[in-house]
């Protein structure tokens, strides 16, 4: 183990980087909601641009319901976008039509789902899912090699004895154990980008650090990139190079992790960071933000944060702010932020 902080990558400047691995432009996803009468349109994701570079860990944080999982599901091709384009190594996903291409993409860019209770098939033991993935995506492996690989990935996520865990059914595992099986499955594919949706939310702090270190090591040793969705901002700081902040379907701020945390520009980011508690500090019942949820069902133009925003000006209720670069690599979608 190195004494270096795990989040590295600062040494590589953006100019030296090869093209992005995964890139989305104008990504939009709307859902119809409200029952059969009163049909309404829910804007889960609106006009999102994002880039994941090789060997990069990008953290995505933001309000619950702001569209983070939807972004990941769009990138994983679980949902088809309402608008916008996604490119993997420069090639548009829409043009990848053959089964071979889809399979290739799925193993290169696997997703770890947020809810491990509904994403594992209860009818089969844990080994089944991992095996099936290996047969599909790494057909060159022999049966004993597959077994060895399954044991390797299960041990990597800290589940021991691996052979014993592989024989169990998902319902025989605790929440945190299931969550790590989801992560292990993604590892088995030898991926280039893992879309990890809250992969550590059910883990205690000690095992959580272990898994974050696994992510950092995979990046260092196997050049794996991550989209790391989390509510644990300290953990985003611990592993990520860049931080994206979502609010009500929009990315409202993006930039190098340390910089965003040290000098947040968007008022929502500021609110979010001010609410991060310090577990070591005493009990402090600070002011509670009783802000009502933002309107994403048939939203009106204007900034979606404005009703909770201490800085709002007139323009905020008429013009939706776009992301603007305020310092190199650091942008915010706010009329007022400088």
């Amino acid at each position: 183990m190195s004494a270096e902080p795990p989040a590295g990558g600062e040494g590589v400047s953006s100019q030296e980087r090869p093209g992005p691995l995964l890139e989305a432009t104008g990504l939009t996803k709307h859902f119809k909601v409200g029952g059969n009468l009163a049909r309404k349109t829910l804007h889960a994701v609106d006009d999102v641009d994002l880039v994941i570079n090789p060997r990069e860990i990008v953290a995505l944080v933001g309000e619950s319901g702001s569209g983070k999982s939807t972004v990941a599901r769009l990138l994983a091709r679980v949902y088809m976008p309402t608008r916008g384009e996604i490119r993997y190594r420069g090639q548009s996903l829409a043009s990848m039509r053959s089964r071979r291409q889809s399979m290739r993409y799925r193993s290169d860019v696997p997703m770890v789902f947020q809810d491990p209770f509904s994403s594992l098939n209860p009818a089969y033991p844990v080994s089944h899912g991992i095996n099936r993935g290996l047969i599909l995506h790494r057909p060159e492996l022999s049966r004993p090699q597959r077994r060895a690989e399954a044991i390797r990935v299960v041990e990597t996520v800290g589940l021991r004895p691996a052979a014993h865990i592989l024989d169990r059914f998902p319902y025989e595992l605790s929440g945190g154990q299931r969550q790590r099986i989801g992560f292990a499955q993604a590892l088995a594919y030898r991926p280039t980008v893992i879309l990890a949706d809250e992969p550590v939310s059910m883990l205690d702090v000690s095992i959580r650090i272990g898994l974050l270190n696994v992510m950092a090591d995979l990046r260092e040793q196997e050049d794996v990139s991550f989209l790391y969705i989390t509510h644990d901002i300290a953990s985003a700081r611990y592993v990520s190079d860049r931080l994206l902040v979502m609010y009500a379907g929009h990315i409202v701020e993006s930039g190098p992790t340390e910089e965003v945390l040290a000098a947040p520009k968007h008022p929502y980011t500021q609110l979010l960071l001010s609410a991060v508690p310090d577990p070591r500090a005493g009990i402090a019942d600070g002011p509670i933000d009783k802000g009502e949820p933002p309107r994403v069902v048939d939203p009106l133009p204007g900034c979606r944060f404005r009703r909770r925003c201490p800085l709002a000006i007139d323009a905020c209720s008429t013009v939706s702010p776009a992301l603007r670069e305020l310092s190199p690599g650091h942008s915010a979608a706010c009329h007022v932020a400088r």
């Binding site: 025989e172 809250e198 991060v276 019942d285 009783k290």
Partner: protein, 325 residues
């Protein structure tokens, strides 16, 4: 303590029956929750926290069963009650928020209909009352009421979790049992939700027993803290005391393992080794293989819970001298 406890759990043990060997996921756990009190439970993934809550709420299903102990709720032993008797109490007198909302909510019924069913199980309510109450609890957890018409899969992870919490607050129960209630929430929503629950607790006086991995949540909201390791309570006491002066080496490890948003960024390692198998727990102290201060006797001697100031700790190093030798 002024009041008799709302919940008194005594020597509760739970086993999962298995072909090879039974797994004792909860081993002789005792705890009590006073009126209006917040009690937090922390511990390693897989150490038996959810099993403990399920056992208390009488929601275990085979192969799991309570093999010993009692759960006294408002003076009645829940363990010996029939399902019919329990149904009278559930939701109304005590409610449960499970670790996976997706598992707990019915996927083919809208949120509003599930709230209606829960309400109607305990009395007659007019459609208007039902709509009012449902909208009210949803607003309390920060969800737009259009989602009464939504199905669980149409909600985000955190919204499902909040919908579950809303459902647990439909009545005004004496005890709310919550398994990782805010693991899918952003910190702003979490703060506001816990603040609201605290407020309700102050006005209505209900008690909360909750499991979490979020150390800041316990540190800010729980009065008493229970630390579990491998199916057993290893430390129990006032949260503040445990945080300031953790007595058990496992509690110390847990409190050292989280990164911070401020200060220097450094590599952390967590507690070395992995949790023991509950089917075959280690001899002596269950933590000895991973313990930085273990001594020879820890490998053979089974520690009990010993009083250390205001807390109790299951560590031989905390054994009072009078009992030694």
């Amino acid at each position: 303590m002024p009041d008799a406890p709302i919940l008194q759990v005594t020597d509760l043990s739970v086993e999962y029956a298995a072909e090879r060997q039974d797994v004792r996921a909860v081993d002789s756990v005792s705890l009590w929750v006073g009126k209006g009190e917040f009690v937090g439970v922390v511990g390693e993934s897989g150490c038996g926290k959810s099993t403990l809550l399920f056992a208390i709420a009488q929601l275990l299903s085979p192969p799991a069963s309570i093999v010993a102990g009692s759960v006294s709720f408002n003076g009645q032993n829940l363990v010996t009650m029939t399902e019919k008797q329990l149904n009278v109490l559930r939701w109304r007198d005590y409610s449960v928020v499970m670790q996976s909302a997706m598992n707990a909510l019915n996927p083919v019924i809208s949120i509003g209909a599930q709230f209606r069913d829960a309400l109607q199980a305990h009395g007659r309510f007019s459609a208007a009352d039902i709509a009012d109450r449902s909208g009210e609890v949803l607003a309390l957890v920060g969800i737009d009421r259009v989602h009464l018409k939504s199905y669980p899969h149409q909600l985000s992870g955190g919204m499902r979790q909040r919908a579950m919490i809303a459902m647990a607050l439909l009545f005004t129960p004496d005890l709310v049992i919550m398994d990782e209630p805010t693991s899918a929430l952003d910190v702003v929503a979490q703060r506001s939700l816990m603040g609201q629950i605290r407020e309700l607790q102050r006005t209505l006086g209900f008690a909360v027993l909750f499991v979490t991995h979020d150390m800041s949540l316990v540190s800010h909201y729980s009065d008493q803290l229970l630390v579990m390791y491998a199916g057993q309570v290893v430390e129990i006491g006032l949260t503040r005391t445990v945080f300031d002066t953790p007595a058990h080496p496992y509690s110390r490890g847990l409190l050292d393992a989280f990164p911070s948003v401020r200060g220097e960024r450094r590599r952390l390692t967590g507690i070395p080794g992995s949790p023991p198998s509950l089917g075959r727990p280690p001899s002596g102290c269950r933590f000895h293989e991973r313990c930085p201060v273990a001594e020879a006797e820890c490998t053979t001697e089974q520690p009990e819970l010993y009083p250390v100031g205001e807390v109790a700790s299951r560590c031989l190093l905390n054994r009072p001298p009078a009992v030694k030798g």
